[in-house]
Symmetry: D4
Subunit: 157 residues, 8 copies
């Protein structure tokens, strides 16, 4: 019973790598959007032709990226959505809502300062974590039943 896990949201830190590395050995499969910011923005026009209007430039790229995102969300058992410190990150919240409507198990990952602004998103989640290592601990527990030893969480960070 492999768990498919989609890692959505912030693309400027290495939180995905931390989770993937930390979960080594568990029966999980990770999927993500394309996290190369430039490629993600320009994929539409690079492949399907330039657009003079920035709106359609963005639109074409967003549509192409949606092919990957939809598959990742549709196949996921668990969707982890990370909100970083900067930017609007509306695509992250959109993915969270999309996943919630599909009945996916949501884990939201964000710092304490976003708590109030994310209260509706957090309310749809089964876990709200602050660090990638907590997500690893959840996955470890869910798949093996093992909880972290006392003190191990700090050590892992």
């Amino acid at each position: 019973m492999t768990f498919n896990i989609y890692l959505s949201g912030e693309i400027h830190t290495d939180w995905r790598e931390q989770i993937i590395d930390g979960a080594a050995g568990l029966d999980v499969a990770f999927h993500s959007p394309v996290t190369d910011h430039g490629a993600s923005d320009d994929c539409g026009v690079t492949i399907l032709g330039a657009e003079p209007n920035k709106y359609w430039h963005d639109h074409k790229g967003a549509m192409v990226n949606a092919i990957r995102t939809r598959k990742g969300l549709a196949d996921a058992d668990i969707v982890v959505v990370r909100f970083g410190e900067k930017y609007k990150q509306w695509n992250a919240a959109f993915d969270a809502g999309y996943a919630a409507a599909l009945g996916k198990s949501l884990i939201i990952l964000h710092g304490a300062d976003h708590q109030h602004a994310l209260k509706e998103v957090d309310a749809a989640a089964l876990a709200v974590a602050e660090t990638p290592s907590q997500v690893v601990e959840i996955l470890t527990y869910i798949l093996t039943g093992a909880l972290p030893q006392a003190g191990s969480a700090e050590a892992a960070e």
Copy 2:
């Protein structure tokens, strides 16, 4: 064939009233979240008991509000989501994602400056408008087939 329309998002301007007034006479029924900010924040603890921890204070309120939001989204034919100038508005993007996954017709309403940040949300929409009067014109056209006369859009604003 009444169209049920859910008006999600920004609660600091009168855009809902503009749309509701403009659509007078059409076979539409509008629904919205509770737009009293204070009541919306405190409904959980006021009814179900105080929480010393701000996170659970927010959580209880967000859950109670979700009862209304889910019904509004589930019954809607069209979901209009407005992004204002300020704040994170992650609940608006969450509602847009939720509605998209349910297959609702989405109309996104925002200013030109949010275009790039909202590209994934816009990509899921059937219309992206800048003003409430454009939403009224869409509803009028969808329900009656009538398009605005030349110059009427500016006049209506």
Copy 3:
């Protein structure tokens, strides 16, 4: 038990009116796309702003029209799709496929000369008719159990 009926397809003859008039007195409610060709083509740019590129001009209009079409198809018990003598009419075939996937009861209306080209579409239908009066007779039978008297079909055309 009102039957909701969506009348999709060809917009250049009065077949919709023939069916609606013929079904007077039955417990049916008819819905259709906007059948004003000009309005249907230009609704997007008229309301949401001009597009220099014809593709996006068309795209904006098609998206706005989809708000009405989706509602009409989603609420329908029966979807009647008419293929006329001229034009590609790919939107008609698209609606037929969309309705079939939703499990709607399909009635396809076309002349004998389109029989081979429409064989996959016809294969998804519960009735394939050649004239609007046959559709009226089907609706009359389905709702009242009454079949046309001998000779009445010709008389009705």
Copy 4:
């Protein structure tokens, strides 16, 4: 996370082979209808018995082919529908509508001259391409994140 891709539509050129060859090495699985025109037309009567009436001859074949088409569409993550230069191709538009209602990611492939006639079909798509090599580039990007190098698109055609 293998992507299942159904290649629907035009059967008179080698576009399917171009895509399948171009995507060699990607984690994709392609499925298609039977593209032998004669077999496709006659499968019903050859197996299940001759029909003197051409309508039922066609009908029997269309029904048998639907067994394969439904499976291909139901299992697909991405449905590519190609419209060629000739014929009515209503089955292609039907498949596109069917796939859209199932929430599949649609890629439509057609020449510029069909743009207006296909606007409702294109409006349901996540990408509209003109050449098989663009479809290959989309698949490559979706699966690996890699975009074509400058000039490579022309080279690939």
Copy 5:
């Protein structure tokens, strides 16, 4: 909370009338197939044109009748299927299976002699009755909470 009830199956006795009369005053709405045997058999060819081959004659009629049956089953809260003493009645068992897959509440009505042959059908039902008056009593109880007085069941038959 009106209960929609579809009365499927045997058409040679007045069991439908007994149930409808017995349920007078309850908040229920009954729907049925066309129960005129001749009309039901010939509706296809009468409206859509004669068929020399009996198979297609039957087929056309069955398809037209399916428009009514599907709507009746889809809208039903409760599906009552009656198996009479004679005939194969495969359409009744087909309707029962169709309703079961849709999650409808099934009431099966048949004499004791069919018990073994109907065991798979009965196993999908929430009630198996022998007389129309028992169905009336079930509906009365479900809607009002009232059970028949001692002795009343026999009196009612």
Copy 6:
């Protein structure tokens, strides 16, 4: 936008009446199981014939009651499940699970002493209340946006 509310669970106190009375004037429609304990236990055998084996006696009744319960749950926007002080009340927890899987908004009503035993049920709820008047206050807020005045909650009990 009437809210349909199903009141499931404990049948030995007047909590349903308290909620229904308290919600007078709101646009809500309440539905409940048959709350006459004796009728609920015996409905199956009273209508469909006695059973010497107590298991089948119970089974027949539970199946007949399920006709009403399923409709009440399927049509509900909100499902309120009350756990009382006594008995196993497995049917209440079963209804809660059933409603949760259907995506209904759950309100769980129970005393503080059941908190640990109900933690999995509460975790699926949007609100956990201790008194019927809190449920009334939630409904009032959800439908009108009005929160109770300070001190009013105690007064209402």
Copy 7:
């Protein structure tokens, strides 16, 4: 793209073996109910305890068999239902209705004499065959595109 095929219905001839043998080499997986008549009738009471009442004896067995049948139908791409010469075979028609409501591709297999009685069942099918070898030919065509050579059908029977 393995096709899962469920073989439902008549258990007194070797039609299942003919199809399974004939399809050797194709990418198909066959599933069937338990076809040992005695075991199928008695499985419930043998495992779960005797019942003095024949109705409950049958019921217990039908319920246990339903565990297998539901899985077979739910996982199937194609459901083949065979009606033999004898018996009521209501379970076969029930399975056909169940499969139809799930949107499975149906192939019905019966002799010409049952044509009128099965017209509603046949109307839900994509193919109506008379011999197991025709089913093999359909599967061969669907999976490989190959049609039988002239004369081969007779040879295969």
Copy 8:
């Protein structure tokens, strides 16, 4: 055709091991909740941070466990729910209701003394067993068609 089986409910006896051992050699895959009572109660706070309020302590744990439970139930073909002699076991009844609403095949396992209290839960099941060895016999029959030899059931216990 592997059967996925989720073993829900009582965690104080070795019934899961008995079933898993007894089913050795069958094409089945078993899944269960975390059955370490302490870990299950404390997983939330151990990973995500302590809560002074016992309600939120429990809540956090219940939510994390729900990630595993939902996956187990969603992927299951058969859900076995065991009710033991002690405790409220509302989570077991909740899982049964959840599984029933998803259309899973339910097997309920309990002693004779719980018969009346579990009648609504049993009414949703396809089999009600008293011993783990009966569940093994059902699985053996469902997968192989083999019934236990006379006397073997007692021997197996």
